[in-house]
């Protein structure tokens, strides 16, 4: 679908609309029409960040999981094409992970006063960044495409099964700052728990979908380049 020119054009328009809507929909104390967003004290205009920051984190996670799934498929089939998919997913995931980290820390600066607070979600994105870093460090130190593919797939699987433990571990260690975390009942919580007004929710999901499709597009471009490189 994303391969056709129409699909790409549609995606471009879609994402443009998301950006325009996300920036331009006015915020008023009591929304009356479909295009007005509520003004949440304490968050104010910053509430819009969710429309552009969360999709980055989401795509990071999608890329991480698909890199792992491709890794599993490689181990099952020994087909190096899956390894190629796995690296490319991980490479793209790293880009989105960096974007999520940077955008998140800017929000943190203006909402909580410092760029980095070690709250649960900041910590998890940092760990994903570490995992991606370790994954590529491992790959660059193994000779032999087949061995490299098998070992990096194994590593991504181990990372994939241990990372969810943060969900249980984090809340015990620290009280979070992130919207929706404990100790943050008022303020931003309604937005983070997706208790958004319906029109904002539509833009939010449109943004998630748009950036996911953008990921799919970039992934296919990268795959085509890698395939060509392989023939040289």
């Amino acid at each position: 679908m994303i391969r056709s020119t129409t699909g790409k054009a549609l995606l471009s328009i879609w994402l443009t609309l998301v950006i325009v809507a996300g920036l331009a929909m006015p915020m008023v104390p009591v929304p009356r029409t479909w295009y007005e967003l509520p003004w949440i004290p304490g968050l104010e205009q910053k509430a819009r960040i969710i429309l552009f920051h969360v999709p980055m984190a989401w795509v990071t996670l999608v890329a991480f999981i698909s890199a792992m799934v491709y890794g599993i498929q490689f181990l099952k089939t020994k087909n190096l094409d899956y390894d190629l998919k796995s690296v490319n997913a991980a490479g793209l995931g790293t880009v989105f992970c960096i974007l999520a980290t940077v955008t998140g820390s800017i929000w943190a600066k203006f909402n909580w006063g410092s760029f980095w607070n070690w709250d649960p979600r900041e910590t998890s994105i940092f760990i994903l960044l570490l995992i991606y870093g370790a994954y590529f460090a491992l790959r660059s130190s193994i000779e032999g495409a087949e061995k490299r593919a098998a070992l990096s797939a194994a590593y991504s699987i181990i990372a994939g099964v241990t990372a969810p433990f943060f969900i249980f571990v984090m809340p015990r260690i620290m009280s979070g700052l992130h919207p929706g975390a404990k100790g943050d009942e008022g303020g931003a919580a309604p937005v983070a728990q997706l208790h958004m007004p319906p029109n904002m929710l539509v833009v939010f999901f449109a943004s998630l979908l748009g950036f996911t499709m953008l990921y799919v597009w970039l992934f296919s471009v990268r795959m085509r380049i890698s395939k060509l490189e392989e023939h040289h």
Partner: protein
């Protein structure tokens, strides 16, 4: 049959360790050096129990990182991987190496913990039960994660530096949990308060071992 073979692999590693003392001597020196640096830097200053619990696990993590890859790396370096492959099935090798690392980690960490409690006077364990259970369960988790990562790292070129890099994100949930449990122990919390931590540690160890058993075949065989 498999268990018997695994035990024999373990016994071979123990004998080999006693012959060569590759890991043991270096590890004990590492612990002593690390502890003295910390004692020097603490001096007369007062440090919170939370920080001291963290430091304890930093020593444990890095001492593990300097010794636990040995059992696989030495097979790879000496070229005895093929020999071992011809002698027994992968699961027996994994189980034997896991047992070896488990015993090495538990004894090393007990040593570190005892030294730490004795030497760092500000570190007062008020709930010994929580503390020692944490050390044991934490060691098991570290050994589980370290074993499969050692099998991976043994095939890579830059073994020494890469090992902690790979291990850190994998072990972080474990480390955060044990640090928290250790802090509870210094605060004198009742045993039941650390039950959640212990559940996480047991679950982590079980999950890592289960995944390792499945993955080991792919890692071990070329």
């Amino acid at each position: 049959m498999m268990m018997r073979s695994a035990y024999e692999v373990f016994r071979k590693d123990v004998h080999s360790e006693f012959r060569t003392r590759y890991a043991m001597n270096a590890l004990i020196m590492f612990v002593i050096v690390a502890l003295s640096i910390i004692l020097f830097s603490i001096g007369d200053e007062s440090v919170t129990p939370g920080v001291l619990s963290g430091i304890l696990w930093v020593i444990i993590f890095f001492s593990g990182m300097s010794g636990l890859s040995r059992s696989f790396v030495s097979e790879e370096e000496r070229g005895t991987v093929l020999t071992l492959q011809l002698l027994t099935e992968p699961s027996a090798v994994y189980a034997g190496k896991l047992l070896f690392n488990l015993i090495l980690t538990v004894s090393l960490n007990l040593f570190i913990a005892v030294m730490y409690v004795l030497l760092v006077q500000q570190f007062v364990v008020q709930s010994p039960a929580i503390f020692w259970v944490t050390i044991l369960l934490g060691s098991a988790g570290i050994a589980a994660a370290a074993t499969i990562l050692a099998a991976i790292i043994a095939k890579a070129n830059t073994k020494g530096t890469l090992y902690p890099v790979l291990a850190f994100p994998i072990m972080l949930p474990l480390l955060l949990t044990v640090m928290n449990a250790t802090r509870l122990a210094t605060e004198g919390a009742p045993f039941s308060e650390a039950a959640g931590e212990f559940q996480v540690l047991v679950a982590y160890t079980v999950v890592v071992i289960a995944v390792s058993v499945i993955l080991f075949d792919f890692v071990w065989k070329d």
